[in-house]
């Protein structure tokens, strides 16, 4: 996908930043009266983020002007179509979904099960098809992580809920972690 030379699309990102910064200045705190009462002299609890947000706003406007000037130059020069950056193919988006699902399902499935499932799916997504490679990587990877982080480092990683939690505890006992 590419943008025609006169397209104003490059200005969209800086304007989005500017608008977001402007909007956020109104939502810095849900206790504005308290913030005003706390303020001593020139600064209060919302001073710093407010100043920084106005900084984002002004700099984003500067960035927008720079981009607008670039668009106008391209229009004058009637330059060739400029290829636009494209955010990855289907594999990347599936990878994003998988990573997000792994993280968000950790409390439900527990670290052991979630990591094992994640390993299998990620390797398949990455094009690894050998059952031996997938099996060994999953088994070794999950076991090493359990030993290092649960047994050695004593991190309270999630065990999962309900029967899955009981399964995790049984697995830890089997592996000698508990």
């Amino acid at each position: 996908m590419s943008s025609p030379p006169g397209s104003w699309r490059p200005v969209a990102a800086p304007l989005a930043f500017a608008i977001a910064a402007a909007v956020l200045t109104q939502f810095i705190t849900d206790r504005p009266e308290q913030a005003a009462a706390m303020a001593r002299g020139i600064a209060g609890p919302t001073t710093w983020p407010t100043v920084m947000l106005y900084g984002v706003l002004l700099l984003a406007l500067g960035w927008a002007v720079q981009r607008a000037a670039m668009v106008l130059r391209r229009r004058e020069q009637a330059s060739a179509v400029v290829p636009e950056a494209v955010a990855g193919g289907a594999r990347v988006w599936l990878g994003i979904v998988l990573v997000l699902a792994y993280g968000f399902l950790l409390p439900t499935l527990g670290f052991a099960l979630a990591t094992a499932i994640y390993f299998v799916l990620w390797l398949l997504l990455g094009g690894i098809r050998s059952p031996l490679q997938i099996g060994l990587t999953t088994l070794i990877g999950t076991t090493v992580f359990l030993y290092v982080f649960v047994k050695l480092a004593l991190m309270p990683l999630d065990r999962g809920v309900g029967p899955i939690g009981e399964f995790s505890v049984a697995l830890y006992r089997l592996l000698g972690i508990y």
């Binding site: 800086p14 930043f17 910064a21 956020l24 939502f27 810095i28 705190t29 849900d30 206790r31 308290q34 913030a35 706390m38 001593r40 002299g41 600064a43 209060g44 609890p45 919302t46 001073t47 710093w48 983020p49 920084m52 947000l53 900084g55 984002v56 700099l59 960035w63 720079q66 494209v86 955010a87 990855g88 193919g89 594999r91 990347v92 990878g95 994003i96 990573v99 997000l100 792994y102 993280g103 968000f104 950790l106 409390p107 994640y118 390993f119 990620w122 390797l123 997504l125 990455g126 094009g127 690894i128 490679q133 990587t137 990877g141 992580f145 480092a153 991190m155 309270p156 990683l157 999630d158």
Partner: protein, 503 residues
């Protein structure tokens, strides 16, 4: 003369098999922990702290000092090999180290980084040994306005790095500072930008952001590449650079070391600030400054020297005044207190042997880091033969565990994953992520020091300019900005002014 005798005796104690072995173990743990994306050496030090109960105070400090020295360097291994900084201070190493790896010069980049780190670390250990008491007096003169000025200098160094795209880089930096201000205000206790979400009350930790943006972002980028199934062939042979090659980079190493030693002494500044400032200054000074970011050796050597030069310097306020300047030195302070040792001026008088043994072991650690660094770097370099898909799987899990381990809070995992997606999109759309991360790291520090300064000095904004040290540092910052921007602005103005035709 006394100092040399004390140091010699300290060296003999440090070379005793138990102490030397423990130091080597700490060094190895530190380098490995620092190199693993998602697991920082500070985590390793925290995990090692309970083990120090079994040791004497001296051995405990030697162990933790080894982890510290090794860990600060270790982050550069993953930064150079896979563009994922293992520690925040290794972020500048990605900028010129990884391009060297892409050119097939991974071995050279790693060996230069090892040599530069050892140089900076040794100089810093010598400064600690010979300069601790007088520099402690200087550290006493630092107060909140000076800490703010130093942090401001670190923020301003971005300008040298961001010259090619100043507007977008500054938007990124300020956005990072805004992200860093999410959570409860450090002075008043009021939640800001939390939108009523309990998960955001604790704020957004910079380690979580860094792991998400760099580690996860890089892994997702790897997945999109055609060669995601193939590892690189061949073994990365690590050979120390020749003396001539090192001598050619003496300027960068010396500048980085000097900056690291100065910045390291300032409590709260830390290795990250030192490394970033060193990179920014080197970019200005180097004749190849315009090429920085494409794999210029000076761009790697300067921040590497600086960050390891902060290690010994950071222990000066710790040992002389009992003031820890960073999370790492705070853990060392905890170890000392656990063993009934009170750091401060009396420590030098009552436990001189222990103090000089600590100095000697830090010197040895930086010397031995060359060997430890080569071994671990070789091991990590062999990981490059692993298909990126498999490597990526492990990096994601390490990142999730690392994010969770920051505060044992699942919300940090969600934030990390969100920043992972953002990091990938930033890479694809050429939005610079380094300024954002630096904003997240330094922004909260700058705010805390700024607000505390106002609270301590009757809300006088002028305090930053009336205190001599603070004014000097801010003056440096101003000069640095001019130094960085004026040549470019002059060039642009010259191009705008039409040339007069000759008749």
């Amino acid at each position: 003369m006394d100092v040399f005798i004390l140091l010699f005796n300290g060296l003999l104690t440090a070379l005793q098999p138990l102490n030397f072995g423990i130091m080597l173990a700490g060094l190895a743990v530190g380098v490995i922990a620092g190199a693993l994306p998602g697991i920082s050496f500070v985590n390793a030090m925290a995990m090692a702290l309970p083990f120090t109960y079994l040791m004497s105070p001296l051995t405990a400090m030697v162990f933790l000092g080894g982890i510290y020295a090794g860990g600060v360097f270790g982050g550069s291994i993953s930064a150079i090999l896979i563009n994922i900084p293992g520690t925040p201070a290794s972020l500048p190493s990605c900028w010129d180290g990884y391009p060297m790896t892409k050119r097939g010069e991974a071995a050279r980049a790693l060996t230069l980084a090892i040599a530069a780190s050892a140089t900076g670390g040794l100089a810093s250990a010598l400064l600690l040994t010979f300069g601790a008491p007088p520099f402690a007096k200087l550290a006493l003169a630092f107060d909140q306005p000076e800490f703010f000025a130093a942090t401001f200098l670190g923020l301003v160094s971005i300008i040298a790095i961001a010259k090619a795209a100043p507007w977008i880089s500054l938007v990124s930096l300020f956005s990072g500072i805004v992200i860093g201000s999410v959570g409860v205000d450090p002075l008043y206790g009021l939640p800001r930008l939390t939108f009523g979400l309990p998960a955001l009350q604790n704020g957004i930790n910079f380690v979580v952001v860094m792991i998400g943006l760099f580690a996860l972002g890089e892994v997702l980028e790897m997945l999109g590449q055609r060669a995601h199934k193939q590892g690189t062939a061949g073994r990365v042979k690590l050979k120390l650079p020749s003396f001539k090659e090192l001598w050619a980079l003496k300027g960068a190493a010396a500048r980085g070391t000097g900056i690291g030693c100065m910045i390291g002494m300032i409590p709260g500044a830390g290795a990250t600030v030192g490394a970033v400032i060193a990179y920014g200054i080197e970019k200005q000074v180097s004749p190849r400054g315009a090429e920085f970011g494409t794999g210029v050796e000076a761009g790697l050597v300067a921040p590497e020297s600086a960050k390891n030069a902060t290690t010994g310097a950071a222990m000066i306020p710790l040992l002389t005044l009992g003031i820890p300047g960073s999370a790492a030195t705070a853990i060392m302070l905890a170890a000392l207190v656990l063993h009934g040792v009170t750091p401060g001026p009396l420590l030098f008088a009552t436990q001189t042997d222990m103090v000089y043994t600590i100095f000697a072991s830090l010197l040895l650690a930086n010397l031995c880091m060359i060997g430890a660094g080569v071994l671990v770097a070789r091991g990590f370099a062999s990981l490059m033969k692993v298909p990126p898909t498999v490597l990526g799987a492990f990096i994601v899990v390490l990142s999730v565990v690392g994010a969770f381990g920051v505060r044992n809070n699942i919300a940090d995992v969600y934030i990390c994953l969100s920043f992972g997606v953002i990091g990938y999109l930033m890479k694809r759309y050429d939005f610079p992520s380094a300024p954002l991360v630096l904003g997240v790291i330094l922004g909260p520090l700058a705010e805390r020091y700024f607000m505390t300064s106002l609270a301590n000095y009757d809300n006088q904004l002028t305090i930053f300019f009336t205190r001599p040290i603070s004014a000097t540092i801010l003056g440096f910052a101003g000069l640095f900005v001019l130094w960085a921007l004026v040549p470019d602005m002059k060039g642009k103005l010259m191009r705008l002014i039409p040339r007069s035709s000759k008749t």
